[in-house]
């Protein structure tokens, strides 16, 4: 339990460290909002209304804010990755590359002191040029040269038995604070070795966050050549195929099940324990069981998505049936409708809005579940693509995959909403 408390404290500290950044971002958002209002654009038709704050029902998202927020994401991304898409003055300062030098004073075991110079060649990431030639010099502490990549640090051991006293004239102690140089910093490790850290700048390394154009280029490349023995379209269609198949099977079983539960007390009593128990089980928790039962092929994934959508659709259909107004049923019967006609013309159409709501939720859950299932085990699919890429530290592929997964999920929801508007136009307007 103490480990848990320690973790919690660590998370809290981490969050505190992020706080200034979040604050700066929110301040920027608020300032831009004030600016927009000062320009007289924020009011529009509502300008005649005197009560504006508190009328939360009338709040509509500002299109300008939406556009700016997306632009801001890309701007921040481009700026902190040194993207070529933004002018150089917008790019965050880059890490130092080139040659730096510092002198240090060391005391030898015999008590004599001497000064040595270290030449540091800071190479761009990924390059490894030879160390520059340096004459050792005449003193007991020889001059030296080292090569280091930007964003990394390098250890420079002093001569055997020597004790470093000062760097560039400033006293240093093992484990003490570093000495700042124009191009980086030098400190002493606890064991007395010089540690040289060139200035890392403000940009992210591509391995953490590649610039937008790298992700776009990778998208083009993967779209053209495929990734891991399958084309991009194939990866995505596999995921979509699994979702659609699993969802349709779930709806095919779940909707009649929900109808039965909604129409008969016996069926409701019989299936309620199962449905109410299975509903809160996250589909992701079923992945291990499904792998044990059905392996990692298509069958397992379709079963998983079937189970993910089944309960949602059953509950939606049940709610849709239960929500029918008795007066509608009475009206149908007194117009001469039979039981079957009441079911066909009243109960079923009345349940459609709820079923569509359920279908939207189920599609969202299925899409999330399929990606997670592919992360665990798959040879094709959007989730598999980003998992494989992460193992090879291909961050650009990971980002590209996440963007595509998000876009497809969004597209699915847009389609569902369009279908809803076309098929149940009376929803929420009765």
């Amino acid at each position: 339990m103490s480990g848990l408390a320690g973790e919690a404290l660590e998370v809290l500290w981490g969050a505190l460290g992020v706080l200034p950044w979040v604050g700066a971002y929110l301040l920027l958002v608020a300032l831009l909002g004030l600016l927009w209002r000062a320009l007289g654009r924020g009011r529009g038709d509502a300008a005649r209304r005197t009560v504006t704050f508190g009328d939360a029902g009338a709040v509509r998202g500002s299109p300008a804010a939406a556009v700016l927020s997306v632009v801001a994401v890309f701007l921040l991304w481009a700026s902190f990755t040194g993207s070529a898409l933004v002018p150089s003055w917008l790019r965050a300062p880059d890490a130092f590359t080139g040659t730096g030098r510092f002198a240090y004073l060391a005391e030898l075991p015999d008590g004599s002191r001497d000064e040595g110079t270290v030449t540091v060649l800071v190479a761009p990431p990924g390059e490894s040029p030879p160390a520059p030639e340096v004459a050792p010099g005449a003193g007991a502490v020889p001059d030296a040269a080292v090569v280091v990549n930007a964003h990394r640090s390098v250890l420079v051991p002093p001569p055997e038995g020597a004790r470093v006293l000062a760097v560039e004239g400033q006293a240093v102690a093992p484990g003490g604070p570093p000495v700042a140089l124009p191009w980086g910093a030098v400190s002493l490790t606890a064991r007395g070795t010089l540690q040289v850290t060139p200035d890392p700048g403000w940009r992210m390394e591509p391995i953490w966050l590649p610039p937008p154009e790298a992700v776009a280029a990778r998208l083009g490349e993967v779209a053209r050549d495929g990734y891991r023995n399958a084309s991009l379209l194939e990866h995505l269609s596999y995921s979509i195929f699994r979702v659609v198949t699993g969802f349709l099977l779930g709806a095919l079983v779940g909707i009649p099940l929900g109808y039965a539960m909604g129409l008969s007390g016996w069926f409701r009593g019989w299936f309620d324990p199962v449905v109410e128990f299975m509903r809160p089980v996250p589909p992701l928790a079923l992945i291990p069981l499904v792998i044990i039962w059905a392996g990692i092929g298509e069958g397992g994934k379709v079963i998983l998505l079937f189970l993910a959508s089944l309960w949602i659709m059953a509950i939606a259909a049940r709610a849709g049936v239960s929500g029918v107004r008795l007066s509608k049923v009475h009206a149908a019967y007194s117009l001469g409708a039979s039981r079957l006609q009441v079911l066909r013309h009243v109960v079923v159409p009345n349940s459609l809005p709820d079923i569509f709501t359920g279908a939207r939720v189920a599609m969202g859950v299925c899409w999330g579940t399929v990606v997670a299932a592919e992360l665990v085990a798959a040879d094709r699919g959007a989730g598999m693509m980003i998992m494989a890429a992460s193992k090879f530290q291909q961050t650009d592929v990971v980002l590209m995959g996440i963007a595509l997964i998000g876009l497809i999920g969004w597209g699915i929801d847009l389609l569902m909403r369009a279908a809803e508007r076309a098929l149940v136009p009376w929803k929420g307007r009765a």
Partner: protein, 256 residues
């Protein structure tokens, strides 16, 4: 009629209610809340089976809902997933009437209720008053012998309500249907009842029956003219104070 609520005990909703409707009659039922008027209508419609007694139509016992007893509900009983025309054509379609016949019937009935040309509209595009006109047309399309109305104008605003009262009278006179109407508005009960049944609560029973001339006077004439008659005002005050007394009694007997 005895109700046995799940909590135990029994509520006597109706006791010894006897009502005889002649063909072409116009009967309104009025009473304070809880007097069992809706229960009575539900029994006549066949939605409820009485614990004692019987309902019969033309000598045949009523065992359940049927198209010979059409019903107009207070509100929200239209099918939103159908157009206005499909709502009106619902009854004929259920009994398998041919399409051409249905279309002609819908056109005629929409014209009767003053909604000519509204057939293709969606239900949610209509106002509350228009929706009740559709409900009336839908009920008439089933060609019932008896039209049962459960506070059909209860949710409408005063002006729309008055127009609809005229419509109900006109339809009654033109079609010759037997109409049984439940209302909590005294004025409406006076106007839309050749016979007015005042019910009393706990147990629900017939308190008094009036024979009234207003429905015959108002059919085809100005409603407000009728409402201005001295006899109308006199009856209104009489019945109002009667119901008022009953409500007072209920409140006095109410246990918190």
């Amino acid at each position: 009629m005895l109700f046995r609520p799940p909590g135990g005990g029994a509520v006597e909703a109706l006791r010894d209610v006897s009502l005889d409707l002649a063909s072409g009659d116009l009967v309104s039922v009025l009473g304070p809340s809880g007097c069992g008027k809706t229960t009575l209508l539900n029994i006549v419609a066949g939605f409820l089976a009485p614990t004692a007694g019987a309902v019969s139509l033309d000598g045949r016992p009523v065992a359940g809902p049927g198209p010979e007893r059409g019903m107009v509900f207070q509100q929200g009983a239209l099918f939103e997933w159908m157009s206005v025309a499909d709502n009106v054509a619902f009854g004929p379609r259920m009994r398998g009437a041919p399409r051409a016949e249905r279309l002609a019937l819908v056109e005629r009935l929409l014209d009767t209720v003053g909604l000519a040309g509204f057939g293709p509209k969606a239900i949610y595009e209509l106002s509350g008053g228009m929706q009740q006109r559709v409900a009336l047309a839908r009920c008439l399309a089933g060609d019932p012998e008896v039209v049962l109305m459960d506070e059909p104008l209860g949710a409408l605003d005063a002006l729309t309500r008055e127009k609809m009262q005229g419509l109900v009278l006109r339809v009654w006179r033109e079609t010759g249907k037997t109409v049984l109407l439940i209302t909590h508005s005294v004025e409406e009960a006076l106007l839309l009842g050749r016979r007015l049944v005042v019910m009393a609560p706990r147990p629900g029973r017939v308190h008094r029956v009036y024979e009234l001339p207003f429905a015959d006077l108002a059919a085809g004439a100005d409603l407000r003219e009728v409402k201005r008659l001295p006899l109308f005002a006199e009856r209104r005050e009489e019945i109002l104070s009667m119901i008022w007394d009953m409500e007072e009694e209920i409140m006095a007997g109410a246990t918190p």
